[in-house]
């Protein structure tokens, strides 16, 4: 009996079939899943590290608090996600947030109108600014960074004009509920955020309009040649971003009970870094709400962690700037390799 040969022949056959299986396994899909996995892992790792240095982090009250504070940021990130998916970017989100706050502050304190009017006015203003940005991109064909950078400054102009030299404060209670209230024990902003995340997720994944967004970002030319109304998609995307940014601004000023001129500015860079880190590529057509939320959570946990570790908020701006650059670099590098 050729005892020597048999085991090695068997194992050779086994190895060969294993190799065949591995080769057939779609490398691209493995990569996709791996990246998603690593991001979630990264988030959990970050939470673990912070918990090690400060046990208070993991307490439910703290987590809910973080989420509540982060709700405005996440809502803006949703809008940014939609724009990123079309292959563009919205640099005006921080400024439109300020506009949302300013407009609602104005209506609440300077006019006798009921608070729903203030809310509607704020959302309307944000949507209008988004629409203009979308038109600049889709019809005037300005590059998105330039068009939205312009809208950033128009937004600043609008909020400066509304607020004048004095900030607004002291809003009515019903309005403040939007930012500070609770529903079934969970802060209201978190409800808003959850609802919006769900709606947008379903919209992007399961509606024909949502699919057009992905198609436009994946290949604008092919989208046009496939009968998609690319102009409408673009304009809508920026309008949605404007709407959500204004909503974020409303929640923010409702919680703070005041508005001042720079209230939205710090929200821009994290709104870019979050989704991009989470996997919504600046190229367009890839990623989605799920990825963006994971990335946004990473940013939020990072910020909260820095707070808990005693890193002054003054240096946090530096860290965020650095993270933005690194996140985009990662995105670019990954895309280049495939």
């Amino acid at each position: 009996m050729p005892v020597n040969n048999q085991p090695s022949a068997n194992s050779k056959r086994y190895i060969l079939s294993l190799i065949r299986v591995c080769r057939e396994f779609d490398r691209a899909r493995v990569r996709q899943i791996a990246f998603r996995f690593f991001r979630v892992l990264g988030l959990l790792l970050l939470c673990a590290i912070i918990t090690v240095s400060n046990r208070n982090f993991i307490r439910l009250a703290n987590l809910i608090n973080i989420l509540r504070q982060a709700s405005a940021q996440i809502i803006i990130s949703i809008g940014m996600t939609v724009v990123l998916l079309t292959g563009g970017i919205d640099l005006s989100v921080g400024s439109v947030m300020t506009v949302g706050s300013a407009v609602s502050g104005f209506f609440l304190t300077q006019t006798g109108l009921p608070w729903p009017i203030a809310l509607l006015a704020a959302l309307g203003a944000g949507t209008a600014l988004g629409l203009i940005g979308g038109i600049l991109v889709a019809k005037v064909k300005l590059p998105p960074p330039i068009a939205t950078y312009g809208m950033l400054w128009i937004g600043k102009g609008v909020s400066f004009g509304i607020m004048g030299s004095t900030p607004f404060f002291g809003f009515c209670n019903e309005f403040r509920y939007l930012g500070k209230g609770y529903l079934f024990g969970i802060p209201f902003p978190i409800w808003i955020m959850a609802v919006l995340v769900t709606i947008t997720f379903l919209f992007l994944k399961y509606t024909t309009m949502g699919r057009s967004v992905y198609a436009t970002g994946a290949n604008q030319f092919a989208a046009k040649a496939s009968g998609i109304r690319v102009d409408r998609v673009l304009i809508s995307a920026y309008a949605i971003s404007g709407f959500l940014a204004a909503l974020g601004g409303v929640i923010l000023c409702a919680r703070l009970n005041a508005v001042d001129q720079d209230i939205g500015a710090p929200f821009l860079l994290p709104a870019i870094a979050g989704p991009v880190m989470g996997g919504t590529s600046m190229e367009g057509g890839q990623g989605g709400v799920g990825s963006s939320v994971i990335g946004a959570l990473i940013m939020i946990v990072l910020t909260n962690g820095m707070n808990l570790l005693g890193i002054s908020s003054l240096w946090q701006q530096f860290v965020i700037g650095l993270v933005v650059v690194l996140a985009v670099w990662l995105d670019v590098a990954i895309k280049k390799r495939s």
Partner: protein, 323 residues
Amino acid sequence: MVNRSKFRAFFLRVPTVAWVLLLMIIVFTISSPHFFTLHNISNILSQGSILIILSMGVIVVKITGGIELSVGGVMTLAGMSMAAALMKFDWPIPLCLIVALLVGTFFGFLNGIFVAKMGIPSFIATLGCQGMAFGIATGMNDGRVFSGFPRQMGYFGGGSILSIPVPVCLSAIAFLSSFILLGYTRFGVYVYAIGGNEESLVLSGKAAWWHKVKAYMYSGFMAGLAGIVVTSRNMTSQPMVGFGMEFEAFAAVVLGGSFIAGRGSAIGAIIGALFIIVLRNGLNVTGVPTYLQLAIIGPALIGSIVLSILVERGLRNRSYAGK
């Protein structure tokens, strides 16, 4: 076969905004006898020197096709670093000046590496750098300002040479520097080549990426210089002093005719800067409150930019064949 009418060639060369600037100057001169006096002009130019200096750096980057949004933060950080060297480490003034210029150039280098080597889109790279710069500036002194500089420090912001204010002289030097750099050096040719047709440079065997980095370093240097002037003029160094300057510098450059990559000039940029300066001055003089100014200038500039882009697109015909 250059059958282009001289008229149109002239119009294409001169940015639209130059005409508006001329108009503004005329209107202001008519409505106020004090406007066109040496004193007032030197005053206006002195206040606007920061913008001019910044624009002279940004134009070089813009011609390579990059969007430079970091100069506000870099200028601020340069000023803060200089102040820190002066007040915390007691270094002699000349050394502090060098610190400012080095900080500016270093951030320019970072920007250049991000864009040219790492492939990050320029607007993100510079936005991120601006965030970092503002962050360091705010953090380095716990958000407080530096003040109490020795009297000589005020020379760069308030002194004068032959009765011309030093800031004006510095902005003139900055202008000349960019003008000569862009028009009369090899590097200038390469800057336009990168913007206009990067392939052409690669085909000629030159390392395009390194020249791109140098362009950003130059812009950073100018931001450092601007930081010196602003700190010297205010005799304090605040962590938010440069906020918004990157937008005005960007607007100045675009209004001056540099929207498409590979196009633009130092002369155009300075005209654009002057337009903004005169506009601000006009708003000041007519008593518009500061916050309203800010509300007007932003949209006004965007509007002018969009307008000049559309005009340029309309005037341009098949002037450059290619792909």
